[in-house]
């Protein structure tokens, strides 16, 4: 919000300083609002107002089909809390945020440990990033084939399992699909976090590692005592990014757990799918009240998680 106040301009209230610099500052001040207004307007129209509207609709029942919203107070939130689909969605979303998060960051740290002084590390980094340039929907369709279960004509995953002498698994069974998607997301997104973390690692002066090496430090000790402390603030930001991304996971689950046309069985839903299903109805009347209430719950959840994470990660920055 502080952006909205014009920056305190030195000398602005003291015209006696005068001269070229004063003129320049005056012009700068005059330009403040012409630059500010479009931003504020666009931001308000496309973000602030819709958010306020969402909060309002969360207190109504509304089919959104030419009818008027009907104010019902906190009914939608009470209904949400008692709703099985919402509970599944909530649980699954938390699984993606926490289990997926721990897994993704473990993978990312593991790679930062080895990639730094690995031959061809840059190429490996690029390859690991690849899943990020594919649309999640396409990835979901592709993984649908990878995880196919059909005795005699198995998908890639079961083909490997069978080649190793193990029994094939029903990956896409609604009971298992959350874990399959968790693993897929870890695979798909760790490249992104490796890239961010490696960018931070690259800034660490090499002599610190050389020093550690001379002192006989193992890779783990180098990671623990050099890499992690010096990238801590970046890890924190990456954690926040992960939380936000994981909370809105939608497409991958939608196409992997269901036919891709209709919502999958509700035991596999995420909060994103809940909002989608209530907005576009599985077979008819949209329920924008419930969808908005869930969207508000998502905003609250992401805020709480991010604040918690920031507090947890708070350390004094190390200068180097």
């Amino acid at each position: 919000m502080s952006v909205l106040t014009p920056p305190p301009v030195r000398g602005a209230s003291a015209p006696r300083t005068g001269g070229a610099q004063g003129e320049h500052l005056k012009r700068k001040r005059r330009l403040f609002w012409p630059f500010m207004i479009p931003t504020v307007a666009l931001y308000s129209i496309f973000l602030v107002l819709p958010t306020i509207a969402t909060v309002y609709y969360g207190f109504t029942t509304w089919a959104g089909a030419g009818d008027d919203p009907n104010f019902v107070g906190f009914d939608q939130y009470v209904a949400l809390w008692n709703n099985d689909s919402f509970q599944f969605s909530f649980r699954n979303t938390l699984i993606y945020v926490f289990v997926g998060g721990v897994g993704t960051f473990l993978l990312a740290f593991l790679f930062t440990m080895v990639l730094r002084d690995m031959k061809g590390g840059k190429l490996v980094r690029a390859i690991l990033f690849f899943p990020n340039i594919v649309a999640p929907v396409a990835l979901g369709m592709f993984l649908g084939f990878v995880f196919k279960y059909q005795p005699g004509k198995q998908g890639l995953a079961n083909f490997f399992l069978e080649s190793l002498g193990a029994t094939s698994a029903k990956f896409l069974d609604p009971a298992n699909v959350t874990w399959v998607v968790t693993a897929s997301i870890m695979w798909a997104s760790s490249g992104f976090y490796i890239t961010i973390l490696m960018a931070a690692v690259d800034r660490i002066p090499p002599y610190l590692y050389e020093d550690a090496e001379m002192a006989g430090a193992s890779p783990w000790q180098k990671f623990r005592n050099v890499t992690l402390p010096l990238t801590w603030d970046v890890v924190g930001v990456a954690g926040v990014l992960w939380t936000i991304n994981a909370l809105k996971i939608f497409e991958l689950v939608f196409v992997l757990a269901g036919p891709g046309t209709y919502s999958p069985p509700n035991s596999a839903w995420t909060l994103g799918i809940f909002v989608f299903d209530r907005s576009f109805g599985s077979n008819g009347t949209p329920d924008f009240g419930a969808a908005s209430a869930c969207a508000v719950a998502m905003i609250v959840l992401v805020s709480v998680l991010v604040v918690m994470l920031r507090r947890l990660m708070r350390r004094d920055a190390i200068q180097f």
Partner: protein, 462 residues
């Protein structure tokens, strides 16, 4: 962004009346008469609009799928004969919720749109977005003096679910769907459709033995409303049309327990999954249906779109495989008294805010002209609500059951999928049904679960 991506998929994927869109089935799987239909001269328009010069139509089809081609022909002919310019948008199956419903808040609405009657009712009619189409029934179809009312089978439109708050019809049907057990007549040579459940189970056993123990029933278990067929089909035979709907909308949920037919239906349902193909519960539609088309399973229970979907698949696969489609209805379970057959009408509705209602209604009537409507059977391989048109070969068995006067017509799933905008099925029925089919709960637990979950659901709905 997400919505856009998903809607693209919604339009491109299937589980729909007609399945995968785009491309003409090739080789042996191509239907005869397609070119003939598309190149035939245009029939006359029976009732021409007097003032409207334009018509905006949001279609549930995509332009190159078979039904889309039929619509294109109808539009071309309508414009040629009346001079009315038709502005068509090919929105696909989800267009009605993703585009039409939000548009109803504005004045920028189409005049004409199409979907199945349950969906139109839930999403558009109930919030007040449609207008009466009763006047269409008196319009001429372009075959002398014949009117829409005279050519249509009354069971295709004259039922309670097609009436708006004022009691008027809100949809004019042009396509009918039903569902059946499908099999390949060339593979099961001496097969006779079973008359009792015991005979059906015996047929499954035989098919299982003949197939070397492979499950004889193909089932795409990832689509909740494909899993819904078994229990609803059997239960309808105990309680008749409207019974399931009544039980599901019973606020106390007790109807599930007080009517003994539901427990019996659940018991009959629980016998079937033993014959499901391995992997049905980890399926990704349409993989299992395609396994049926490839001959891995003998039977498949799905809608009347099964032939058109699997024909298209086999055509694209190449290799010359073809199916001689046979079908039969669920036999009467022991103790059941209502012989039923499911139907779903798909047709045109006119929006309340339509700017060109006259043209929209005239087009709805013209669609039912035999030379136009014939495309739905000849090109799209679907059933139509006229009894005097030839029936596609694939659907002959189904049509015979359909025309059987002993059978009572029931709306698809008795309308369970549309209750509370589809939420009742998602929250109450689908999860319990999946557990029953997977054998995780027994029939008694299923019925008890329906009673308690349904009561909870209605309590939360206020």
């Amino acid at each position: 962004m997400t919505v856009g991506v998903v809607s693209t998929f919604a339009a491109a994927a299937c589980g729909t009346p007609t399945g995968p869109e785009g491309g003409t089935p090739g080789g042996q799987n191509a239907l005869p008469g397609v070119e003939e239909y598309l190149n035939a001269p245009c029939p006359e328009v029976g009732t021409k609009p007097t003032t409207d010069k334009e018509l905006i139509y949001w279609s549930m089809w995509t332009a190159d799928e078979p039904q889309g081609k039929v619509m294109q022909k109808a539009i071309k002919c309508f414009t040629e004969k009346t001079g009315v310019k038709v502005d068509v948008q090919w929105q696909g199956r989800k267009g009605y919720t993703q585009n039409l419903v939000p548009a109803l808040n504005t004045d920028n609405v189409p005049d004409l749109f199409d979907q199945d009657v349950s969906k139109v009712s839930a999403a558009v009619m109930q919030p007040g977005g449609t207008q009466s189409v009763d006047d269409v029934f008196t319009m001429k179809v372009g075959e002398g003096e014949k009117t829409v009312k005279e050519v249509l089978d009354p069971t295709s439109y004259d039922f309670p679910q097609n009436k708006d708050a004022a009691g008027a019809n809100f949809m004019v049907p042009y396509l009918l769907q039903s569902s059946a057990w499908w099999y390949n007549k060339d593979k099961l040579k001496d097969f006779q459709p079973p008359k009792t459940t015991a005979e059906m189970i015996a047929a499954f056993d035989k098919a299982k033995a003949d197939g070397g123990g492979v499950g004889p029933v193909a089932q795409d278990g990832d689509i909740p409303f494909y899993n819904m067929y078994f229990f609803t089909q059997i239960a309808e035979r105990f309680v008749g049309a409207g019974g399931l709907y009544q039980a599901a909308t019973d606020k106390t949920g007790q109807a599930w327990k007080s009517e003994p037919g539901y427990l019996k239906a659940a018991e009959e349902t629980a016998k079937i999954p033993a014959y499901f193909i391995d992997g049905w519960d980890a399926a990704k539609f349409p993989q299992v249906q395609q396994r049926w088309a490839d001959g891995e399973a003998s039977f498949l229970y799905v809608g009347s779109w099964a032939p058109s979907e699997t024909r298209e698949y086999l055509g694209k696969q190449g290799g010359g495989a073809a199916i001689n489609y046979g079908s039969f209805q669920f036999p009467m379970p022991e103790g059941a008294t209502k012989d039923t057959i499911e139907q779903m009408s798909i047709g045109f509705s006119v929006t309340k805010k339509a700017k060109h209602p006259e043209a929209a209604k005239a087009f709805s009537a013209y669609m039912l002209n035999k030379d136009i409507l014939n495309g739905i059977t000849a090109v799209a391989d679907n059933l139509v609500p006229r009894t005097d048109l030839p029936v596609p070969d694939d659907l002959k068995d189904l049509k015979a059951s359909f025309d059987d006067p002993k059978k009572e017509k029931v709306l698809q799933y008795d309308g369970l999928d549309g209750i509370a905008g589809g939420k009742w099925a998602t929250e109450v029925f689908d999860p319990l049904n999946l557990e029953l089919l997977k054998g995780n709960i027994n029939p008694q637990q299923f019925v008890d679960g329906l009673a308690t979950k349904s009561a909870d659901f209605w309590k939360s709905q206020g």
